[in-house]
Structures are given as structure tokens and as C-alpha cells.
């Protein structure tokens, strides 16, 4: 039983080290505080224990002391806040060239769609040293994507995308846990993140029987669902031309401007009347309940690919891009 007693989690991502550093700092700080306070209590308890000759001395308090132990802790707290906020800021700001993995969580499994077209369940293969951005949604309740070895966790919500990113630094197999209680088999909603050397990863990628890239699948759906009849790519149709739209500001009919991110594209497919682009009529039918979460991801990936910069930015250079696009990695 005791061989199973590691007291520290594996450190396998670029952020894990900085989280551990702050954690160790806090452990030290709080350890010192605890020992200090407990020692004071113990010393006072023994030194001033009740005995025949010992009378309590009346002391009202001391404003100077009160101010000292108000403002010194406050200063320390603000220091901790700034440090921890800096880590959080990095955790929430994905690097520009991240590879993207679309994730659909459901009771009680994790489904992953790589942009190269590979699909996995409860297993996520990623290469070491590459920034990976998870674009996640749930098809039922709230789940949470948690990889302790990476020190990252992000709730996965129905009806929207949430994102997380990491850069794995050490090959190996790590726990993937669902961290938000999601019903009966919450504790069974676990999987493995397999971090591989880049060469191995390429082998793994080419080994799968993927039917084209994710945006390729999206392109097919774009045709078969009839999107392309209005959203024409050569000219402005009854719907906006989607070329180059992703990642750009969009002027809406009501005068607002929003950025065309994943959540905007998603919402515009499911309930198009929510944000109508300026100059267009609200004639598009809602696709809520018509497309599955996986199909939606493919469509989003396709719309993104229409704004992809010329190849060379990042992504997977040794994969043949479908005609007219590169695997999209830019936002």
C-alpha cells in the first residue's frame, strides 16, 4: 500500500512549476505564521498559567499593535494576490499559435476532436512542447476538465465554449479527472492524457483512420446543411460572406460590435437572431437541436479555417491541408 504514496503531484506542464512555486511560498509563509501563533499561545499558556502568585495584568489593547497587524497582513495579502493573478493571467491567455482540440463532455465521458481529424474518447494524445488549447463544451450538465499534472482545471458548460490551454513538458500518461460533480458516475468520468514525443505523436496522428481534417468535416456539413446557399464564399449572399470574418470585430444590426470568436460563431449557428449582422435580415433558421455538439465543433473549425492566415504560422506542417485552407490555428 505504501508504494502508492507520492505526496506531490507530477509536474508536467509549463505552468505547473509556477503554481508549485507559489504554493511552496504560501506553505512556508503560512507554516511560519502557524508556528508563530501556536508558539505564542503555548508560551503564554505556560508562562501565565494560573498559580497562587499570578494575577492577570489589566491591558486594554494597543492601537499601534492593531494597526501593525492590520496593515502588515494586508500588504502580504496584496503581494500574494499580485503573484497569483500573474499566474492566472498566463493560464487564461493562450499563446497565439496553439494547436486546438475540441472537446465535448457528456455524462460520463470525454470526447476529443483534433483539428487533424482524429477523434478520441477518454484519452487525449498531445505532443510534448506544443501549446494546446482546449475548446470545450458540454452536451448535458456542467463538467470540469482537470489534469492535476498540468495544474489546470476549467469548468465545461452546456451552451457555450470555455477554453483552457497547456504546454506539456514531460512525456507520460497523466490523470484526466472530471472535477465538477455531474451525476451518478462522476467519479468514473476519468481518462488519460498521453503526452508523446513529437515524432511519436506524428506516428500516432498518421496511424488513425481520420476522414479528413475537422474543418474538412465542417466544410461537408456546411454544404449538406445548406449553409452555403446563403453564406457564399465568392460573393455576398443573403447571409454574410464568412471569409475572413473569424477573429474580427463584427458590427451588429443594433449598433453593437462584437468579436467573432468561437462562442459568437456557435451562437450564430444555434440561435442566429441573437446577434444579427448589420445590413442583413434575421432570416436564418435556428440550428438548435439540429446539429450535434461534434458537428457544431466541425462547423466552427471550418468557419475559422476561412480566416486562417497563409500556412507557416503554426499547426501541423506535415499534414496535407485541404484545398484552399490551412489547418486553422490563428484566431
Amino acid at each position: 500500500m505504501f508504494e502508492n504514496l507520492p505526496l506531490w503531484p507530477v509536474r508536467a506542464s509549463s505552468t505547473a512549476g509556477s503554481v508549485d512555486a507559489l504554493y511552496i511560498f504560501l506553505l512556508t509563509l503560512c507554516g511560519v505564521m502557524c508556528i508563530g501563533i501556536f508558539t505564542m499561545i503555548a508560551v503564554f499558556a505556560i508562562r501565565y498559567r494560573r498559580s497562587a502568585g499570578n494575577r492577570a495584568e489589566p491591558i486594554e489593547g494597543s492601537t499601534a499593535l492593531e494597526l501593525t497587524w492590520t496593515f502588515i497582513p494586508l500588504g502580504i495579502f496584496i503581494f500574494i494576490f499580485v503573484w497569483s493573478a500573474a499566474i492566472f493571467f498566463r493560464e487564461r491567455t493562450p499563446p497565439k499559435d496553439s494547436t486546438e482540440v475540441y472537446t465535448v463532455a457528456k455524462q460520463w465521458m470525454w470526447k476529443f476532436q483534433h483539428i487533424e481529424g482524429q477523434r478520441e474518447i477518454n484519452e487525449l494524445h498531445v505532443p510534448v512542447g506544443r501549446d494546446v488549447r482546449m475548446i470545450m463544451t458540454s452536451q448535458d450538465v456542467i463538467h470540469s476538465f482537470y489534469v492535476p499534472a498540468f495544474r489546470i482545471k476549467q469548468d465545461v458548460l452546456p451552451g457555450r465554449y470555455t477554453t483552457a490551454w497547456f504546454r506539456a513538458t514531460k512525456p507520460g500518461t497523466y490523470h484526466l479527472f472530471c472535477a465538477e460533480y455531474c451525476g451518478t458516475m462522476h467519479s468514473g468520468m476519468v481518462g488519460d492524457v498521453v503526452v508523446m514525443e513529437p515524432a511519436q505523436y506524428q506516428t500516432w496522428l498518421s496511424g488513425g483512420a481520420a476522414a479528413g481534417s475537422l474543418s474538412n468535416t465542417g466544410q461537408g456539413l456546411f454544404q449538406s446543411l445548406g449553409c452555403s446557399t446563403c453564406h457564399r464564399l465568392d460573393t455576398q449572399g443573403r447571409g454574410p460572406n464568412l471569409t475572413g470574418v473569424f477573429g474580427k470585430p463584427v458590427l451588429l444590426e443594433d449598433g453593437r460590435t462584437v468579436t467573432a470568436d468561437e462562442n459568437y460563431v456557435r451562437e450564430s449557428i444555434l440561435s442566429p437572431t441573437a446577434k444579427v449582422v448589420s445590413g442583413f435580415k434575421p432570416i436564418m433558421p435556428p440550428f438548435q437541436g439540429i446539429v450535434s455538439e461534434e458537428q457544431l465543433n466541425a462547423l466552427v473549425a471550418y468557419v475559422k479555417s476561412l480566416s486562417a492566415q497563409p500556412s507557416g504560422a503554426a499547426g501541423t506542417p506535415n499534414l496535407k491541408p485541404p484545398p484552399g485552407e490551412t489547418p486553422s490555428t490563428t484566431q
Partner: protein, 544 residues
């Protein structure tokens, strides 16, 4: 402690009337406090039983003792019962009810009938909770997160929500009663700056109860409406927002943490001063800190949601505000410690508990700094680190403070002394058992074990075994006081009016007090905790 033989026949609130009706229709705040004492003890042991089953299941990594659904129900109902039916009413409704009128020199609370009504509401809520438990339970988690609770479960969600909804009104009415009582019923000379900190603490608590609980009521109502009428308030497919639920829920449930800890802080202030024979160090700062916690406590709710999908900047704001609320808590710990300086310290059972409280609350508070730190919270939230943290506050803090208070005021409540040896023994057992149960959970959490897991990865087993071992010790520690306190009601030494030579008006009347507390309305001419004055003139060289 010299026991002056008080003739037991002397009329007091306990022997004035007999019979069930004299209790069920009483408007005496002391009798209502005892009704609460009985009912919350009942729920404490129910919630504790669930906890024990949880710990037994977690002895092994496999889910083998109970079914997954059963396990989910166990932790759900453990949380709901403990939070809403034990912790929230514990100190205010039992000790606060009993002591506030005594401490301010009043005959009763401002609204004695409303006080009885709030106990009945608690009982009706409790009956709904029992109905839920007996009929197969509920498995939403105590947090009722949507859309799981509204669309995906077919257990007794509405009954459980209703139970908490109704018990909430009991809490609101108690808070209202306390606020009015403390404003209007103080004896002549009992100015705000002479109030015992226990009264300040319950006042701060009452503010939260009155302002926060209605939001919980509304939230649970919305959950019930969404379930029954298939509305789309939280359902994203109908344009609702599941995060809205979390905001509403935590807007109450974070301040509720302070409902659970502030009264405990009040108890500890009374005890530390008495057993060091000192005034509280920095009375004014202690009182202001209580109010500051109550106010700031309303501004930090989204620190439960850093990874839930809120924006980066709101996460930053709520993290910073969470650090602000830590300051007054730190001030309190420093002041309790400083109170011991140059005191005359004795170690009776209440003081042992109070010292335990300071230590455990310090650890609970300091680990809160970890959770408020955004970068670390991402890793440890929803893991056993959080479980350990809030049990250090709620059990290490509140339950210990409650036990401290029960022992301290037991002579006043029952007119009898508890057995000191057994009291100390139980305090030690609880302290050891508690730490063994919950300390390993900090380690488990940082290692990454998520909370609410019925089965877990084998590398977590050793620490879970330690935790379960601790829980069994803790259970023994809880049963002991139950046994010897009951025993002492019949066989304990008779207590005189003031067995601890304590300051405070409640000790100037007989033990147990008469129905109207004081024969004459007291006039207060002294500050709180005037132990220097109490001890000075007498100079009795006899043993205490």
C-alpha cells in the same frame, strides 16, 4: 470551584412548568433554545452518520460499500443537513437564543412568539428534510448546481429545496429578532461599547441572515419552478444561464459561511477572557472586525467560481476582495492571542476548546489564502483541499466553538456542572480525531483528488485510510459529550450562579435563571470583561 448549594426547589425556567405543552407552546427564549438544542443535536447525529458512511466507502479505492448513487446521496445530504440544519442554527439559535437576553439584561427577546414560530419553521423544514431522506434522498450535491439539479436528476430535489427554503425563514426570523432585541432591549447602561462580543457577533450574524437568506430562498424557488414548470431560467437550451444559478447561490452561501463562523468567534471571545481573567485585547477592533467580516463577506461570492466560466477581470476583482475579508479574521486571531499575554490562564474544558478553535481556525483561515490565490485555486478548487479547508473552518472552527460554548454555559443552562475529567478527555479526542481526519485531505487535494468521488485512483488510498481512521476517533469524541452532558443533568454537581467567576450579566442571575431572567432590571456601570475589577477587590486566597 465552590458549589454553593442552591436549593433545587427554587423556581427556575426548567421547573416552573412541566408537561409537553409547556414546552411546545413556550415563549421563553431559554426553553426555545433547549428545543433547538434537542433538534439540532438530532440532525447533527444524522449528518454525522452520513459522514461516517462516506468515510467508510472511501477506505478503499473501489466503490464497494455502497452504490454510486447512494454515495452521491450521502455527501449531498451530509452537506444539506449539516449546513442548514446544524451549523447555521447551532450557535445563534441555541446559545444566542439562550444568552442574548441574559447578556443584555432583558427579560426575553423582542418577539417571543416569533421566536417560537422560527423554531416551528425549522421543524417543518426539518420534516421535509426527513421526508427527503426517508424516501430515497437527493443527489444534487448540497450546492444544487444547475442544470444537473433541474433537468437531469429524478430524486427528491423539490422536497429538499423546500426543506431548506422553509428552514431559511426560521433563520431570517431569528436574525430579525436578534437585531430588534439588541437595538431595543438593552438594560440601562448597557451601551453598544459595553456589549459582550458574543452579542456583537450574533448581531453581525443576524445582519447576514436577514439580508442573505432571502436570496437563497429565491434561488431555490427558481430551481423548483424550473423543475416543475420546465422554465428556462438556468437551462441554456432555452436561453437560460447555469452560471446565474451559481452567482445567486453563492451570493447567499458565501456569507452563510460567516453565519456559521461569526457566532463561534463570539463564544471564543467570552471564554478566552474568562479563563485568562483579562479584558479582551482591542475590544473596539474586535467588534469592528465582526461587522467588517459581515459586510465584506457579501462581496466575495464569485471566488467559488474562478474556473466556472466567469471573466478574467471579475476573477481578479473577487480574488482581491477575498484577501480584504481575510484581514479582519487575522485581526481576531492576533487579538485572542494577545489577550492571553500576562493573563492568569486556566485550562478548564471550555478553554481547551477555545484554544483548539484558535489553532484550527488559524489553519482554516490560512488555507483560505491558498484558495483565494487565483493561480493555486485553479488547481485545488473542487478537490479535497477545499473539503479540508472548509471543514477546518466549520468543524475545527464552528463545531469546536459550539462545544466550547455548551460546556461554558452548561451550568447556566442546566444548573449542573459537567464532569471536568470527561470534558477534557473528549476535547482532546476531538482535537486529535479532527486533525487526523482532515489534515491528510489537504495533501490529497494538492495531489489532485477531486471531491465527490465515489471511487478513486489507488495512489490516494493511504491518505484516505488515515482520514477514515481520524473520523472514527472524531465520532467517539462527539458521542462522549452527548453521554456525559445527559448524565450531568441528573447527577452533575449543582452549579452556583457563577461557577467560573465570569463577567457578564448572564452570570449575575441564578443557575438556571428564572423565566424572566432577572428579579430586577440590572443597571450596567462597567465595561465588558472587567476581570481586573472583578478580581481586584476580593483578593480571596482560597483555591478556585
Amino acid at each position: 470551584m465552590a458549589t454553593v448549594a442552591v436549593p433545587i426547589e427554587r423556581e427556575n425556567y426548567l421547573n416552573k412548568e412541566y408537561g409537553v405543552a409547556s414546552w411546545l407552546f413556550t415563549t421563553d427564549h431559554k426553553r426555545i433554545a433547549l428545543l433547538y438544542l434537542l433538534s439540532i443535536t438530532f440532525f447533527f447525529f444524522i449528518g454525522g452518520f452520513f459522514a461516517l458512511l462516506i468515510r467508510l466507502e472511501l477506505l478503499t479505492p473501489a466503490g464497494d460499500l455502497v452504490q454510486a448513487d447512494t454515495y452521491n446521496k450521502l455527501f449531498t445530504m451530509h452537506g444539506q443537513v449539516m449546513v442548514f440544519f446544524f451549523l447555521i442554527p447551532a450557535v445563534p439559535a441555541v446559545l444566542g437564543n439562550f444568552l442574548i437576553p441574559l447578556m443584555i439584561g432583558a427579560k426575553d427577546l423582542a418577539f417571543p412568539r416569533i421566536n417560537l414560530l422560527s423554531w416551528y419553521l425549522y421543524i417543518i423544514g426539518g420534516l421535509f428534510m426527513m421526508y427527503t431522506i426517508v424516501n430515497g434522498g437527493v443527489d444534487t450535491g448540497w450546492t444544487f448546481y444547475t442544470p444537473l439539479s433541474t433537468q437531469f436528476l429524478d430524486t427528491h430535489v423539490v422536497a429538499a429545496a423546500l426543506a431548506i427554503f422553509i428552514a431559511g425563514f426560521s433563520s431570517i426570523l431569528t436574525g430579525l429578532n436578534f437585531i430588534v432585541t439588541i437595538h431595543r432591549m438593552r438594560a440601562p447602561g448597557m451601551t453598544w461599547s459595553r456589549l459582550p462580543l458574543f452579542v456583537w457577533a450574533n448581531y453581525a450574524t443576524a445582519i447576514i441572515q436577514v439580508l442573505g437568506t432571502p436570496v437563497l430562498a429565491i434561488t431555490l424557488m427558481l430551481v423548483a419552478l424550473e423543475r416543475i414548470f420546465r422554465l428556462g431560467i438556468f437551462n441554456p437550451q432555452m436561453g437560460g444561464d447555469p452560471l446565474l444559478f451559481q452567482h445567486l447561490f453563492w451570493f447567499y452561501s458565501h456569507p452563510a459561511v460567516y453565519i456559521m463562523i461569526l457566532p463561534g468567534m463570539g463564544v471564543v471571545s467570552e471564554i478566552v477572557t474568562c479563563f485568562t481573567r483579562k479584558r479582551i485585547f482591542g475590544y473596539r477592533f474586535m467588534a469592528v472586525a465582526l461587522i467588517a467580516i459581515a459586510v465584506l463577506g457579501f462581496l466575495v461570492w464569485a471566488h467559488h467560481m474562478f474556473i466556472a466560466g466567469i471573466s478574467l477581470y471579475s476573477a481578479l476583482a473577487f480574488s482581491l476582495l477575498s484577501y480584504f475579508v481575510a484581514v479582519p479574521s487575522a485581526i481576531k486571531v492576533f487579538n485572542w492571542t494577545a489577550t492571553m499575554y500576562k493573563g492568569s490562564v486556566s485550562f478548564d474544558t471550555p478553554m481547551l476548546y477555545a484554544l483548539g478553535f484558535i489553532g484550527l481556525f488559524t489553519m482554516g483561515g490560512l488555507t483560505g489564502l491558498f484558495l483565494a490565490a487565483l493561480g493555486i485555486d485553479v488547481h485545488v478548487t473542487d478537490t479535497y483541499f477545499v473539503i479540508a479547508h472548509f471543514h477546518y473552518i466549520m468543524v475545527g472552527g464552528m463545531v469546536i466553538a459550539y462545544l466550547a460554548g455548551i460546556h461554558f454555559w452548561w451550568p447556566k443552562i442546566s444548573g449542573r456542572m459537567y464532569p471536568e475529567f470527561w470534558g477534557k478527555l473528549a476535547a482532546m479526542i476531538i482535537f486529535v480525531g479532527f486533525n487526523l481526519t482532515f489534515f491528510p485531505q489537504f495533501v490529497l487535494g494538492y495531489m489532485g483528488m477531486p471531491r465527490r468521488y465515489w471511487q478513486y485512483s489507488p495512489e490516494f488510498q493511504v491518505l484516505n485510510v488515515l482520514s477514515t481512521a481520524g473520523a472514527t476517533i472524531l465520532a467517539v469524541g462527539y458521542v462522549l459529550p452527548m453521554v456525559y452532558l445527559l448524565w450531568s443533568m441528573r447527577y452533575g454537581k449543582l452549579a452556583d450562579a457563577n461557577p467560573w467567576d465570569a463577567a457578564g450579566l448572564e452570570w449575575t442571575t441564578s443557575s438556571p435563571p428564572t423565566t424572566f431572567n432577572f428579579d430586577e432590571t440590572p443597571v450596567v456601570t462597567w465595561e465588558a470583561y472587567n476581570y481586573d475589577e472583578l478580581d481586584a477587590p476580593k483578593e480571596v486566597p482560597l483555591e478556585r
